[in-house]
């Protein structure tokens, strides 16, 4: 036995890393600092053809300088890389495939590059591993998709190489942990190198090189919705949601998708929500980016806790001043963390509510279009019923117990269910019908050679559909026929909705499976912008006592 252990080496990975780092040593100065001009040479020294590489491509902050540098390496030496990263929102992420440096992609979200992802798959420039949810992909970082080299992004480094990721910590801890503890290499771009950090988010001995980027990393205010653009129709939907779902179930632990419906709901909490007596009974614990439209509800004392996936430009000082609500560090600034927020979102939420582009007649929904491979980020983690959940809350239990057929699969065993709500106007963007016979995702699957049509939320996870026609309580339906009828009943004048039979809809209303605004006692005439707690970004600034500092593009005063 002792012979065999002495013969076999168990440190191939660290030896390989040591060899690569030795060839990169000439570029690395004290404090692990590498000059920006040496970045391409550094990458050529530490990356090998066929490596699995992560470029920190978050929902928000982007390791853009490192991505651009990777695109400049000698492709005769470095090619066929396997990119594993959350998102590919920058053109340069796809240029890597165009230029033959990268070959395969495993990701979660395509954003603005979704069209090129689809095109490159068709043209054979990009081999798609899978489109994941964030948690799935993070899970695989620790299983079969561990990066060999990760190119990450932080606000600041100190002279030892410790990093401050602060407000937009997002994916960084997850990527670094997976890479470094599997003997990989971690290279960080930072906006500046300073003597003292506000706090240490990533310790220096997990980092191999630090580069001061020639310009600060790109960050977009993705989660700011201007209250001035909330429509009366979205306000009606918001009122229906508050009365027919938030109030009906007393939902405390919620994620709001981004979109104007959820912004409307946030802005209705201090007005209509207060009037319904829901304060303290709903929305007390949220998993959310720091949405500016949450400010009035927070200021009115609705919210106990908010944990964030990422940050949001302009909300820095507001969050710092509300540490009772947000997760902040000893320095006072927000610490976001996508992996933990998604974990809470997957297991500990009672409700996910968001919008979509299409819902089919069975209740499957997707934002996929025929020519874009976009992915869904974290929505499917939150927009599903977590089967591993074992703790109980009133709203979760009520939603589960309302299922008329629960006993057919579980006998007399009680079980809850996550509320998964899709709120849509029956005709959406560009007046396209939201309710469709067949999702465009099928066509995409064919165009891009995918095994599965990309579905954001599966019909069996969807519990409620809200439209201007009313609410369909799908969790109260006994079978697929009843679900389809309930969906038809709220699908308005779309082809699907026109197929609804009045007598069937009447029966569903009598059974409490479908409720119109009138059934719920929601007055359509009150659905006006006057009901919003804030009607403009300016109002949000006022609500925040001047702490919210909106980006220039949202300023109209």
């Amino acid at each position: 036995m002792s012979d065999r252990t002495s013969e076999k080496a168990w440190n191939h990975r660290s030896a390989d890393t040591a060899e690569r780092m030795a060839s990169a040593a000439r570029f690395i100065g004290p404090g692990k600092v590498v000059k920006a001009d040496d970045t391409v040479a550094l990458l050529e020294a530490v990356i090998r053809a066929g490596d699995r590489v992560n470029i920190e491509g978050n929902n928000q902050k982007q390791a853009d300088f490192l991505a651009e540098s990777l695109n400049k390496v000698d492709k005769s030496k470095i090619h066929d890389l396997h990119m594993v990263q959350s998102a590919v929102p920058l053109p340069v992420h796809l240029d890597l495939f165009e230029n033959g440096i990268a070959k395969k992609l495993d990701f979660a979200f395509g954003g603005p590059q979704a069209g090129r992802v689809a095109q490159f798959i068709r043209e054979g420039k990009l081999q798609l591993g899978a489109i994941h949810t964030y948690l799935e992909l993070f899970g695989r970082y620790f299983l079969d998709l561990t990066p060999k080299v990760s190119l990450i992004c932080a606000y600041k480094a100190d002279r030892q190489g410790n990093l401050y990721t602060g407000f937009n910590t997002e994916d960084t801890p997850t990527i670094v942990e997976a890479t470094k503890f599997r003997q990989g290499i971690v290279i960080a771009q930072v906006n500046e190198i300073v003597d003292t950090l506000p706090r240490v988010d990533i310790p220096a001995d997990w980092i191999d090189a630090v580069i001061e980027s020639p310009k600060p990393f790109f960050l977009e205010p993705l989660f700011t919705r201007d209250p001035a653009l909330v429509t009366d129709s979205q306000i009606l939907l918001g009122m229906l949601c508050l009365k027919g779902i938030y109030g009906e179930y007393g939902v405390q632990r919620i994620n709001h998708g981004i979109g104007f419906l959820t912004s409307a709901i946030e802005l209705l909490l201090p007005t209509y929500g207060e009037e319904l007596g829901l304060k303290g009974k709903t929305c007390s614990h949220m998993i959310l980016n720091p949405h500016p439209t949450m400010i009035p509800a927070i200021e009115s004392g609705w919210v106990d806790t908010i944990h964030c996936f990422g940050g949001e430009l302009g909300m820095e000082e507001y969050v710092r001043a509300r540490p009772d609500v947000f997760f902040t560090g000893p320095d006072g600034s927000l610490r976001s963390n996508r992996a933990f927020a998604q974990t809470a979102g997957h297991y500990a939420l009672d409700m996910f509510i968001g919008g979509t582009l299409q819902i089919d007649k069975f209740g499957n929904s997707s934002t996929a279009t025929a020519s874009r491979v976009a992915g869904f980020g974290g929505a499917p983690n939150m927009g599903c019923d977590a089967k591993g959940r074992r703790h109980s809350t009133d709203s979760w239990l009520k939603c589960g117990q309302e299922q008329p057929t629960l006993n057919r699969v579980l006998g007399d065993m009680p079980r809850g269910k996550r509320l998964v709500v899709q709120g849509v106007e029956t005709f959406g963007e560009g007046r396209a019908p939201v309710f469709v016979d067949k999702l465009d995702a099928w066509e995409l699957a064919e165009n891009a050679g995918l095994d599965l049509p990309p579905v954001m939320i599966y019909g069996d996870d969807l519990t409620h559909v809200v439209t201007e026609e009313g609410i369909a309580y799908l969790n109260r339906c006994a079978d697929i026929e009843a679900r389809m009828a309930a969906i038809r009943a709220v699908a308005g004048y779309t082809e699907i909705g026109l197929a609804a039979k009045p007598e069937e809809t009447r029966a569903l209303r009598d059974a409490g499976i479908v409720k119109t605004p009138e059934d719920l006692g929601v007055d359509r005439d009150r659905a006006r912008r006057d009901l919003l707690a804030a009607k403009s970004v300016r109002d949000l600034v006022t609500w925040s006592g001047g702490l919210y500092n909106p980006p220039a593009r949202f300023r109209n005063w």
Binding site: D530, G546, W557
Partner: protein, 318 residues
């Protein structure tokens, strides 16, 4: 039609032209003249096959504030950006002409009229200026409105109110400048060349029209108040604008003459001192001018709530 009382609390910024016309005068006093049922619409748009509106995007009528007859003109930015063409221009011209004629008739019959009893004109601007589809007819309409303003001078005070989405730009920026008094909210914008046009002509380096904060810092109500291009800055409600009009309605012609920014050798001299100051200062940003006016912390002025702003701000004097 919304209730007048509801309108008073409504955001001026979000109100359409007709709601503004109704809400700027006293409850129940507004009568629309040449309204949509009269179907005065643009023959040019029809020829071009473009959609028309039966009020041509401008609401005209008459109402009352206290004892003051008020002739109202209100522009709708949602119809072709509030652009002024032949028909809309004619409606403006005739609303002012009616005010002048009414003044003359009234003054002849009642020589002892008080200032408050004499008519005024209120123009709620929301426009980028000339409707390009109508070219010369639109330009001519602007000239005719200017002509009426000159005829109204010294008889019928004309008040400009600006606080709508489109702002007040282009040829109508000149028209607004020629009124007796300008009332704005911090969401109002007033200028000649619109931000997009400046960027197009002079480049993004000169003026980035996508930087909304910059656009408002340069053309918005707070800046205009500081540099003296507007006389009053009020809150963004129809009620606040209504109340400001009510206060102005009792003022004398001499008061209005004093509020003018152009129109006499003294006013022109003052404007030229402003030009000289700009040439000397070469400000890189509106905030440089705010600081020059004596505001120690110009950055803080932007987000400052209106009452605090009005209490603290130092206005430029040249």
């Amino acid at each position: 039609m919304p209730k007048w009382n509801d309108l008073q609390g409504r955001s001026f910024l979000e109100s359409n032209a007709r709601d503004r016309a109704v809400g700027l005068v006293d409850e129940g006093t507004f009568t629309e003249l040449a309204g949509p049922f009269d179907r005065f619409y643009s023959p040019h748009l029809e020829t071009l096959g473009e959609a028309v509106e039966f009020d041509d995007g401008i609401v005209t009528g008459v109402g009352r504030v206290g004892v003051t007859p008020v002739f109202v003109i209100s522009q709708e930015g949602k119809f072709i950006g509030g652009s002024v063409g032949e028909v809309g221009g004619a409606k403006m011209v005739n609303a002012i002409r009616l005010a002048i004629e009414f003044h003359d008739t009234l003054a002849a019959a009642h020589p002892d009229l008080t200032d408050a009893e004499k008519p005024i004109v209120v123009i709620s601007f929301e426009t980028g200026g000339v409707r390009l589809h109508e070219s010369n007819a639109g330009l001519l309409a602007h000239a005719e409105v200017m002509d009426q303003l000159q005829k109204a001078r010294g008889k019928v005070p004309v008040i400009a109110v600006i606080g709508s989405k489109v702002g007040c730009f282009g040829g109508m920026g000149f028209v607004a400048a020629a009124t007796d008094c300008i009332v704005m909210s911090e969401f109002g914008r007033l200028g000649l060349t619109g931000p997009e046009v400046i960027e197009q002509e002079m480049g993004k380096e000169e003026f980035d029209s996508g930087d909304r904060a910059l656009v408002f810092r340069t053309t918005g109500g707070k800046h205009k108040y500081i540099v003296g291009d507007c006389n009053y800055l009020v809150a963004d409600t129809l009620g606040a604008f209504h109340d400001q009009i009510a206060e102005l309605a009792t003022k004398s012609l001499a008061d209005f003459e004093a509020m003018r920014r152009i129109g006499s050798p003294e006013k022109v001299a003052q404007q030229l001192r402003g030009v000289a100051l700009a040439a000397e200062m070469q400000p890189k940003d509106a905030r440089d001018v705010w600081a020059h006016a004596g505001n120690a912390d110009p950055v803080a002025l932007t987000d400052m709530p209106l009452p605090d702003f009005l209490a603290q701000v130092k206005r430029l004097s040249v």
